[in-house]
Symmetry: C2
Subunit: 332 residues, 2 copies
Amino acid sequence: MTMLALGIDLGGTDIKAALVDPAGRIERRLTQPTQAELGPDVVIDRMIELVDRLRGGQEHDDPIEVVGIGVGTPGPLSPTRGVVFQAANLPGWLNVELRERISDRTKLPVVVDNDANVAAYAEYRLSGDDTLQNLVLLTLGSGIGAGTILNGCILHGHFENASEWGHMIVEPDGRPCPCGQHGCLEQYASAAAIARTATERVEQGESSSLAQGAPPGKGTTPSRSRLGMRITSADVATAAQAGDSLAKEIWDRACRYLAIGCVNIQHALNPQRIVLGGGMSAAGEFLLDPVRKHARAIRWKLCDDAPTITPAQLGNNAGTIGAGLLAWDATQ
Amino acid sequence: MTMLALGIDLGGTDIKAALVDPAGRIERRLTQPTQAELGPDVVIDRMIELVDRLRGGQEHDDPIEVVGIGVGTPGPLSPTRGVVFQAANLPGWLNVELRERISDRTKLPVVVDNDANVAAYAEYRLSGDDTLQNLVLLTLGSGIGAGTILNGCILHGHFENASEWGHMIVEPDGRPCPCGQHGCLEQYASAAAIARTATERVEQGESSSLAQGAPPGKGTTPSRSRLGMRITSADVATAAQAGDSLAKEIWDRACRYLAIGCVNIQHALNPQRIVLGGGMSAAGEFLLDPVRKHARAIRWKLCDDAPTITPAQLGNNAGTIGAGLLAWDATQ
């Protein structure tokens, strides 16, 4: 009998689930489409289906016992109460008692947390650095998701909604954000912000190799313009690396805003490390180098308390691994 | 025999010291000038002098026993090592082993922490609200000092220099800050920033009752202009309350930046309460009202996780009380 935890990463497109050992190694994994448009009841059915298939474990000679389930989900939510208040990419999710509903049907202990928190926890636990106790993860995609580990624990805050670094205001009276604020970091430094800026400037007639457009569906986080043009942040990265000056300018400007975000996180929490993940981090050193360079130039000179800025290690598996590890923690 | 802790608040102008009971009540207090210009050896002598006088306690019928000493000091410093790396208002303080030096001479256990952290800890412990576990204190003076309480503990971070909310960048490419950055919050929302803006605009010939100048030495944090004019943030508050339009504009703008700072703290840590202290907070509701109003207008609408914004309760005693309470904690 092998004891394993079950980690679920609930996204707007896919539900990922995996059996995870106490060290965060994935033993087996399954994915299926979320079908979010069918509402929370169906989505929960589909989560339970994955749980049942993973618990069945017919393919294993060695029978398994699942010690508990961890779920990383979009929010805002209350990990304490196990309730998802709402979720931008999951229509109909309003005050869903996710922990209780999964626990009732599986008869297993369930923990629920914010998807970015869960990913940050995985990056922390599997960092391989025993001295690491304080870390911030920024996931750069359609927005900027964020999770924070303080002294080895996920930072939740009094209202359980801390660590929304993507919504720190870096430009008073700046671009409007769907959240209702103006000038949020994610309006300047997310993959979607880069795509949108590139599309707008090409539409305004600026000269760039980006004007030729990219094949529909290529890359991540396309920004559809009024003219039906699709430019992704990956297109911008590619064009910038090829020397296109508009693309270089847009990419560099986004990296500078990310650096401002990193400096503000430095002063707020003094973490040891800031980890950049999400689709945009596929650019690797082409992202990290300018962010580090700008951060060095921008940040204060009073003392040397700057975090290192590093790439995420776990990619798409961070969610299931982190959720599985949280389920393990809950058995302690 | 009464057991008491001894709290010391080391400032650039005065050293305050007090005997503090386990509930944070001051039993006896003494103050003397720091004479910072004479360097760390003399300043430490003067601290020891206060300790000896308070320990002597000849005025008491009941002899006292001091259980330990807590010191709140400017920084950056390492509370773990008890070393002050440097201190803006204390010339010659470079890597001063403050904890060891005081402990060696008093034969008492000593804890050292950042002055704003210590004040925040006092505001937290004496809040009278048992549900309060997460709080940020901003002290509005010549800069913006800040201390953060998370789950009842002072936030230090990996490099022990967290919670420098005054140096979050709110205007990329904004006003230069002595710290080496541009656009720090304290360049827009501290008492000194208000005084400076008012002085500059009056010098530029703008019409205002502030142009008559204020008596030298009145109010806090004067900004000396090239023309020798002195306008303080208290002058600006007074003129704004009397209806002066330039003063109203300057005051309101600073309050809006403070609100941006509060919204960014909300998203970072989700504290239950943000406390405004320091000289500028003497304006009371004339400060708090517009900060709250702007914060309500600026902050996101996704969920209701905003902290309350309240005035500091302990004034100039926060430092000695907090330091004394930390000394008590260290005896546990």
